[in-house]
């Protein structure tokens, strides 16, 4: 495409009072090679916008650079359709509002940004979406428990075809052994039927849903939109295709055999809550091992849960479950005594009403405590507890002890997906076998595109929460299939229709892209050459940053563009005594933080040049080397926080900077430069107040170190 560049400069919002607009216009028409450059004091006003639209219509301008406010504002006004390339140069928040007006350095900053924006616009190409052959819209759901069943039914109700694979011979998961569930609706008093038979019935009757019971997954290959699935059935195998996958593989009870300190196994009358539930739902009634109705039943909460030696987390449902089972006992025998020993009674939200109801019973006794041990004295079980509400140490005799064991995600130690992915055959786990990423803001996400976690596979949930989880996960799965069919990326770059393209002739099979891609987008051929699966890609560009041969690029985001931007800002020579710092900056967090600093008119050092990047992990070492050899005095890599509580939207982009540092330092050694010339910084979006200090301290550090000897070479 022949580009005709139009540069439009706004002097409003005090930009004009701060900068020499004439000089900027000169730069636009000169170095930036704009065919047209216009200035206006109110570019986002009707007149200003007309100015641009007229040029597009009548002058054939197809590449527009706007030198005005941040691209994060007025996005709806500066919208010129998908036939026009648009680049916004942030002269307001990043220049005029946070630097000395009518100052040589400020003017230099503005002109640099204008040149960088112009070259970027010129180098950008229109995307061509990746739409593979043989796409399906079917959804695979692994796990036929209450969450998976809800997903299946919900998806089918929107007309989506569903394949449901269940390991057991029957659908229903753990809930099928459940006698009653604790109440989920006002007045939260009476126990409720689980509603599972109705749900199973709905699923079985639905013609859109194919159910495989007694079946497991043998293999999943391919990519979102066209996963190839091999299902191992009792009598052979089946092959299915799916666009996206919901992992609803649920939970299993924590192995009570490990609870020796609670004497499990020492007496048959020490049982688990799951055993209790089965006893009641089987209709046998609550009995001790010798067939008697127990008179005194003790429930031990957090049997394994909230225990660093067992399950360090809280299983969320056990308090309500034990209150429910206490009601079973009391209903069976109104003269029985039921004890509940808890650490904290956890019945959040409306479930407090259930707690209130359940405890208001003469024969139910509760206390907070720490369990010391459970003594077995013949057929009498003695629960010893400390730090209770009734005194330092108490003992209670019981003839049945129920251990409220917690939930362990099935996927902790079982393979469920069998992905034919170079990066591993299961979903990466965050902690304790639970699979999610960015669980606060985007709860269903996993580190594998198009594969969503739902139900107890992602967090300990009760039946109600598992159902609503199933509905939400179904939505995400359908949405993924929809986006993939339109060649668009999923979270967080929703709608992005670029994808990484590789110039394979120069590939050395070093596999850095394969290893560093957080989403497992790259497999490899039999010969060991990287094999991209673009639909698995989230478009972060980490592979682009990883590739030593610079062969990975996006149509609108590549090393050439970034490199040209670096070449297009001024690097004052050593006699000017002005350092030049280049800051690569995460466009999702650090860049908005810069905007907020501007909004608050916080002044900071004018010698820093910023290049926003999709992810700090997409910054290729080559760019850093280029910049340093071009005389830039120091490089800041400002990314998101990493570690256990990572904030990076691409999971490990910012972390990779540290991992790649070895190579970087090699580069520095080769150039005979100090290691401090590169600095990685973690910055949250709300830490805009840190920026001025960060910049000034680094500039000071670099100035003390002395200028880059490559300057002016």
């Amino acid at each position: 495409m022949d580009k005709k560049l139009g540069i439009y400069l706004c002097s409003g919002c005090h930009i004009g009072e701060c900068l020499d607009m004439q000089a900027l216009e000169k730069a636009a028409l000169g170095e930036c090679k704009a065919a047209v450059c216009k200035k206006h004091e109110f570019l986002c006003g009707r007149e200003g916008l007309e100015l641009i639209n007229n040029d597009i219509k009548s002058e054939g301008v197809n590449t527009v650079v706007i030198g005005a406010c941040s691209p994060r504002v007025n996005f709806d006004l500066f919208r010129f359709g998908d036939q026009v390339i648009l680049e916004r140069v942030n002269l307001r928040e990043h220049v005029a509002w946070c630097h000395k007006p009518n100052d040589e350095d400020t003017q230099m900053l503005a002109e640099d940004y204008l040149r960088m924006g112009a070259i970027k616009a010129v180098k950008i190409n229109f995307p061509e979406p990746y739409i593979a052959e043989g796409l399906t819209s079917k959804i695979l759901i692994i796990g036929g428990g209450v969450s998976g069943l809800t997903s299946a039914f919900s998806a089918a109700s929107l007309g989506t075809e569903v394949v449901l694979v269940e390991k057991q011979a029957e659908l229903g998961g753990w809930v099928k052994n459940m006698h009653r569930q604790y109440p989920k609706a006002p007045p939260h008093a009476a126990l409720e039927p689980t509603g599972l038979p109705e749900l199973i019935d709905q699923v079985k009757k639905n013609s859109k849903i194919t159910v495989y019971t007694s079946s497991t997954i043998e293999k999943i290959s391919g990519e979102p939109g066209r996963f190839e699935i091999t299902i191992k059935k009792a009598d052979g195998t089946a092959v299915e295709k799916a666009a996206s996958i919901i992992v609803a593989t649920g939970w299993k009870p924590y192995d009570a055999k490990k609870l020796e300190h609670l004497s499990f196994g020492k007496h048959p009358n020490i049982i688990t809550n799951v055993m209790m539930e089965e006893m009641v739902s089987s209709g046998r009634g609550i009995k001790t091992a010798d067939g008697q109705r127990p008179k005194r039943i003790a429930f031990i909460q957090c049997a394994g849960s909230r225990d660093p030696n067992h399950l360090p987390y809280c299983s969320s449902v056990c308090c309500n479950v034990s209150l429910k089972q206490a009601m079973y006992c009391r209903e069976q025998d109104p003269d029985s005594l039921v004890f509940v020993f808890y650490k904290d009674l956890r019945t959040p939200g409306h479930h407090e009403d259930f707690y209130r109801h359940a405890q208001n019973d003469a024969g139910t006794f509760l206390t907070k405590c720490e369990i010391t041990n459970i003594d077995v004295k013949g057929n009498t079980l003695v629960v010893n507890a400390a730090d209770t509400l009734l005194g330092k140490e108490i003992s209670v005799e019981a003839d049945l002890v129920v251990l409220a064991t917690g939930m362990v995600p099935t996927a902790l130690d079982e393979k469920v997906l069998h992905l034919a992915y170079r990066k591993g055959d299961e979903l990466p786990q965050l902690k304790y076998g639970f699979t999610d990423s960015h669980f606060i803001c985007f709860p269903y996400e996993t580190e594998r595109t198009g594969i969503y976690a739902s139900g107890c596979a992602r967090a300990p949930l009760d039946t109600d929460a598992a159902r609503s989880d199933g509905t939400g996960a179904a939505m995400k799965a359908i949405q993924c299939a929809d986006l993939i069919s339109r060649g668009m990326a999923t979270l967080p770059r929703f709608g992005d229709n670029t994808y990484p393209e590789m110039y394979m002739q120069r590939c050395t099979d070093c596999k850095r892209c394969t290893e560093e891609c957080p989403f497992g987008a790259y497999d490899e051929t039999a010969k060991g050459t990287p094999l991209p699966n673009p639909a698995r890609c989230r478009r972060c560009g980490i592979c682009m940053g990883s590739c030593p041969e610079r062969i990975i690029s996006f149509k609108n985001y590549n090393i050439e563009i970034l490199s040209s931007m670096i070449k297009n800002f001024s690097v004052p020579d050593e006699f000017e005594e002005k350092p030049r710092i280049l800051a690569f900056m995460c466009e999702n967090d650090a860049y908005p933080a810069m905007d907020m600093a501007g909004l608050r008119h916080i002044e900071y050092n004018p010698h820093v040049r910023i290049i926003p990047v999709r992810c700090i992990g997409s910054v290729n070492n080559v760019l850093i080397a280029d910049a340093l050899s071009g005389g830039v005095d120091g490089i800041l890599l400002i990314g998101c926080k990493h570690g256990d509580d990572y904030q990076c939207h691409f999971i490990r982009g910012s972390e990779l900077i540290g991992k790649r540092e070895g190579n970087l330092q090699e580069t520095l050694q080769r150039l005979a430069l100090e290691p401090e010339r590169i600095k990685a910084v973690q910055l949250s979006i709300n830490e805009y107040d840190r920026l001025p200090k960060l910049f000034s301290e680094y500039v000071e550090e670099i100035t003390e170190m002395g200028f880059n000897p490559f300057k002016g070479m």
Binding site: C69, S315, G349, K368, C441, F442, A459, D469, P592, M596
Partner: protein, 417 residues
């Protein structure tokens, strides 16, 4: 793909409503997001950090806003409330009443009006811990990025200083309320919550002493963009806090106030403990609780917070708070149940973990049936309720319900559900 497209209305621009609107629009549906305040973001935008990751809410909000920016299918109506809903699934008519902003679409966000404005008002964003002018930008991440005039404090045309200051003719003090009718296949209601009015807790004397604050105010004190720029200074004398009490269940789990558990306050207070310890490592902190309800994997967070030195958990509900008139310190009283003695301790500042009350509690609303506490059920017949107007929830649970509601809403296209 072959999914019928429709039109939807989402009521409430907090995290639940934003999530629902964005997700539904990304299927190619048209959606109008109705927000009562001048900016999207709701309660979470006023939080300093989320538990348990201690990450800023702006981070997730920015991703959602970015998705809104790139999606012309989403229409935002701020300062708007739903006056009426009529019709059936697949064919609702939603009447929206939009209050005047007095600042029109020409606003560039240059801030000149603020410099000119002579009157101040307590900042609702900072829970009155700071002041703004009568014309103001709601906050740094305001969406839309446009100023607004508070007509309760603005003297109006007789002053008119902002009109003169604005170069872009963006101030329109004559703006009137408007009614708009929207068509919708389904409506998603996410009207959210408000902090329980702590003044109703008469034995705690909230409002009678300056160093007794609520948990939402603590969020503002800790926020870098808050009234103290993230320094945790007590209100009476801006002293750096050294002894802080966290008072759990201030209103929640209380038949006289909110009989239900607000579900998030325990973990939220643990987070605020980390604010205090981050700001002043030496600070002495006590948390008074009935049950520590830190659910699921958040237990890790509890374990982590417990490792701080100088942190005490007292099992016992605070039943009396008084002020020392000379030092303005606060005396907090509870029974330390596990030691079996009354516990009376002096603090620089105490923080009430006030609970979540549904925004529309006690109000007549056309948005659905409320239970005795003012919460909506999960919804039916094409009107779905999500987030804290349905049940007290943390952000993750809100987003999850929002995602589910999107699917249920899409089932209504063409009047199916």
């Amino acid at each position: 793909m072959n999914i019928k497209k429709g039109e939807f209305v989402v009521v409430g621009g907090g995290i639940s409503g934003i999530a629902a609107a964005v997700e539904i629009a990304e299927f190619g549906n048209k959606v109008t997001l109705i927000e009562k305040e001048a900016s999207l973001g709701g309660r979470v935008s006023k939080m300093s950090l989320y538990f348990p990751k201690l990450c800023p809410p702006y981070c997730g909000l920015e991703i959602y806003f970015k998705r809104i920016r790139s999606n012309p299918n989403i229409q935002i109506m701020t300062l708007s409330e739903v006056a009426n809903i009529s019709g059936t699934p697949g064919n609702f008519t939603v009447t929206v009443r939009q209050s005047p902003r007095y600042v029109n679409a020409k606003c560039t966000g240059c801030n000149d009006c603020v410099s000119a404005c002579p009157v101040e008002r307590p900042s609702d964003f900072d829970y009155s811990l700071s002041k703004t002018k009568a014309v103001y930008l709601p906050h740094e991440l305001s969406f839309p990025y446009r100023y607004v005039i508070d007509d309760k404090t603005c003297p109006g045309a007789e002053c008119g200083k902002c009109i003169l200051a604005c170069k872009y003719d963006a101030i329109d003090l004559g703006m009137k309320a408007e009614s708009v009718e929207l068509k919708a296949d389904a409506v998603i209601v996410a009207t959210g919550w408000k902090p329980y009015d702590a003044q109703k807790l008469t034995n705690l004397n909230y409002g009678k002493m300056s160093n007794l604050i609520t948990n939402v105010m603590m969020e503002r004190l800790a926020a870098p963009n808050g009234p103290t720029k993230g320094e945790i200074l007590r209100p009476s004398d801006n002293k750096k806090v050294e002894r802080v009490a966290f008072v759990q269940c201030a209103g929640s789990r209380d038949e006289n106030h909110l009989p239900y558990c607000s579900a998030v306050c325990c973990t939220a207070s643990l987070k605020q403990v980390s604010y205090v310890k981050e700001f002043n490592k030496e600070a002495q902190v006590s948390v008074f609780y009935i049950d520590l309800r830190v659910m699921g994997r958040n237990e890790d967070f509890l374990t982590k917070i417990k490792q701080h030195d100088g942190l005490k958990f007292v099992k016992g509900k605070v039943a009396r708070i008084t002020e020392d008139p000379d030092t303005k310190d606060v005396w907090v009283e509870a029974e330390d149940i596990l030691s079996g003695a009354k516990h009376r301790e002096r603090f620089d500042m105490a923080v009430l973990a006030t609970g979540i009350e549904p925004s529309l509690s006690g109000e007549k609303t056309c948005l659905g049936e409320q239970d005795k506490y003012g919460f909506f059920g999960s919804g039916k017949d094409g009107i779905f309720h999500i987030g804290c107007c349905h049940t007290p929830s943390d952000v993750s649970a809100c987003v999850k319900l929002a995602n589910g509601a999107v699917l249920k809403a899409m089932q209504c296209v063409g009047g199916r559900a």
